[in-house]
């Protein structure tokens, strides 16, 4: 009973926007399968009534005041941009799936 199937691997790759070759799909299926198998061990533990540790520190209500601070100069905002047009980041067309 494989821990993960190649189809699931392809689905996850799509969710993560990672293009994989068929060889990679096969390799990751096997490697992820091993890791997930090891992870299944966690099911043997009884965690009834145990709260998850989403936050390492018992902090609450960490705020900043509503004050304007200087933004980055525009050249710095754009300095690492792969493609710029009219002071904006240019990207290839966005297809709305239908």
């Amino acid at each position: 009973m494989p821990a993960i199937t190649p189809d699931e691997v392809r689905h996850v790759a799509r969710l993560a926007r990672l293009e994989l070759s068929e060889e990679e799909v096969a390799r990751f299926t096997q490697q992820l399968g091993e890791i997930l198998q090891a992870a299944r061990r966690l099911q043997e533990l009884d965690t009834e009534g145990v709260d998850p540790t989403f936050y390492p520190l018992p902090l609450r209500n960490v705020f900043r005041p509503d004050e304007v601070r200087p933004s980055l100069p525009r050249e710095r905002v754009l300095q690492n941009a792969p493609e710029v047009e009219a002071d904006m980041f240019r990207v290839p067309r966005i297809i709305e799936e239908a």
Binding site: L15, R17, F54, Y55, L57, L59, R60, N61, V62, F63, R64, P65, D66, E67, V68, R69, P70, S71, L72, R74, V77, L78, E85, A86, D87, M88, F89, R90, V91, P92, R93, I94, E96, E97, A98
Partner: protein, 505 residues
């Protein structure tokens, strides 16, 4: 395939809804909060800046950046929740909503999933004289995305797009209603009242045209009496209140057409297309993203002190519904007047100021509803701009006093008011300077009446042959001669006196 736009379109051109069906509507509304800085960083939220000039490592999502929560955004969100009669959560937290899109710099949006700030509220809406209560499921805080500009007018067919991150990180509240609305009109009225509440709270300028108020709608059909909900579709791209109503009406007919043919509604996201008056398929459920929500590790939870929440509750301003009632009761105004005056809190404030000064609420109401609103539009202003303009309230009050005293006619009064507002000169000064006092001297009036009669034999003949309205024409002529300064009522009496009763040869 299952779309029959032509059929549905022709049906929806009528006002009604598909007979034999109950239309179930829920709304998802986004409101941009008017804090000075963004929700997780100190960049300015000011509208209209040149592209990418209000951006920092945090809202640009640079590697290593971290969010820190703006306390004012939390306060505004709580105010909204309280005004909508919600329960404020004891413990609220943030979650990451993960998806890829160019306007989302971190490829996740910090939002709230299972522990929103506020939940379980309601808002009453007046529909056809009845009160409908619309449930509010939740009000939560999240961050705005950037703005996309496409190489063509819309995203469809565009070869590339440009991204501006100025708006990215502006605080948003998302308000989700229960599917309690039953007609498109109700939905529009609800949205309008919700907008008014936000204006009254002063937490947003809620302008749909600027994107600070956005609305998506969910609509499904079921047979009357049926308990289960039908499959719903989501409708987006609703840019005006009218569009909300028209789109929902179209969608109801579209769904009815499908169901009546024995078809099945697919859970889809559809975009309203203003030019064709139809909704167009955007995405089916199969292509819906898996957002993989999980608690945002970079932001500790928010645990609101009940006494702080109480202080906010006590400091809430008078809300639109209460204000309308009070205006009706205190000033004995008809519901219609109260409704118009309470469109904007600044307008209602202005009205009350004038009413108090002049002691004639009905006159104040009439003039505010007609003249003041007209003048604002003519001057390129809005009701919001009345805030702080006590001098204007004083001026209007003065004009009303002058009219009531008979010093000037109403017609002249309107001119004087306009000049007063534009020049900043007090009305009495203008009246004096231009000699606009109403002419009360009867001999002068009689002179003008005789002049008008002499100059308009046709009208006189018309009147003598029985057409009473001709007298009105003659009164108008006298008003011209007097440059508006004659008292029309008195002139009317004089005309009749001169000519005798109508229809006398």
């Amino acid at each position: 395939m299952q779309d029959r736009p032509t059929l549905a379109e022709s049906r929806s051109a009528r006002e009604g809804l598909p007979p034999g069906w109950e239309v179930v509507i829920g709304l998802e509304i986004h409101v941009e909060l008017a804090t000075r800085s963004k929700v997780f960083c100190g960049c300015s939220t000011e509208f209209g800046a040149p592209p990418n000039t209000h951006v920092c490592p945090v809202c640009l999502g640079l590697p290593g950046s971290l969010p820190v929560l703006n306390e004012k955004a939390v306060e505004y969100a709580v105010r909204a929740g309280l005004a909508l009669n919600c329960r404020v959560a004891e413990l609220a937290k943030f979650d990451r909503k993960n998806y890829f899109y160019p306007d989302l710099p971190k490829a996740y949006q910090i939002s709230q999933y299972d522990r929103p700030l506020c939940a379980d509220g309601w808002l009453d809406v007046e529909v056809d004289g009845r009160t409908r209560r619309v449930g509010i499921i939740r009000v939560h805080l999240e961050e705005e995305t950037g703005k996309l500009v496409h190489s063509t007018a819309t995203i469809v067919g565009s070869r590339y797009s440009l991204v501006d991150y100025n708006r990215c990180g502006v605080p948003l509240i998302e308000i989700v209603t229960r599917p309690d609305m039953r007609t498109p009109e109700e939905a529009r009225l609800f949205l309008e009242e919700l907008r008014r509440v936000m204006l009254y709270l002063g937490i947003s300028d809620v302008k749909m045209e600027e994107g600070s108020l956005r609305c998506d709608a969910n609509v499904s059909l079921r047979r009357p009496g049926e308990q289960r909900l039908g499959t719903k579709t989501e409708v987006k791209n609703l840019n005006t209140f009218k569009a909300v109503e028209r789109a929902l009406r179209y969608e109801a007919w579209r769904q009815a057409a499908i169901l009546e043919e024995g078809g099945v509604i697919r859970q889809e996201t559809r975009a309203w297309d203003e030019s064709s008056g139809t909704t167009i398929l955007m995405r089916t459920k199969e292509t819906v993203e898996d957002y993989r929500y999980f608690p945002e590790p970079d932001l500790p939870p928010v645990q609101l002190d009940p006494s702080w929440v109480d202080a906010i509750r006590r400091s809430l301003p008078e809300l639109p519904a209460a204000r309308r009632r009070r205006l009706e009761e205190t000033y004995k105004l008809p519901a219609y007047d109260a409704s118009v005056l309470c469109e904007h809190p600044a307008l209602a404030d202005f009205f009350e100021d004038v009413a108090r000064r002049t002691g004639d609420p009905k006159a104040a109401s009439n003039w505010v509803m007609s003249e003041v609103l007209r003048l604002l539009r003519a001057m390129g202003m809005e009701p919001a701009d009345l805030a702080g303009r006590e001098t204007w309230a004083a001026y209007l009050s003065e004009v009303l006093d002058l009219v009531r005293a008979g010093t000037v006619t109403a017609t002249v009064g309107k001119e004087v008011l306009e000049e007063s507002l534009r020049t900043g000169q007090p009305p009495s000064a203008i009246v004096r300077a231009r000699g606009l006092e109403q002419v009360g001297d009867e001999s002068q009036l009689v002179q003008w009446v005789r002049q008008a009669i002499a100059a308009n034999p046709d009208a006189v003949a018309s009147y003598r042959s029985g057409k009473e309205q001709a007298a009105g024409f003659l009164v108008g002529q006298v008003m011209k001669l007097s440059r508006g300064k004659a008292n029309p009522k008195v002139v009317g009496e004089l005309v009749r006196k001169e000519l005798g009763p109508p229809g006398q040869g």
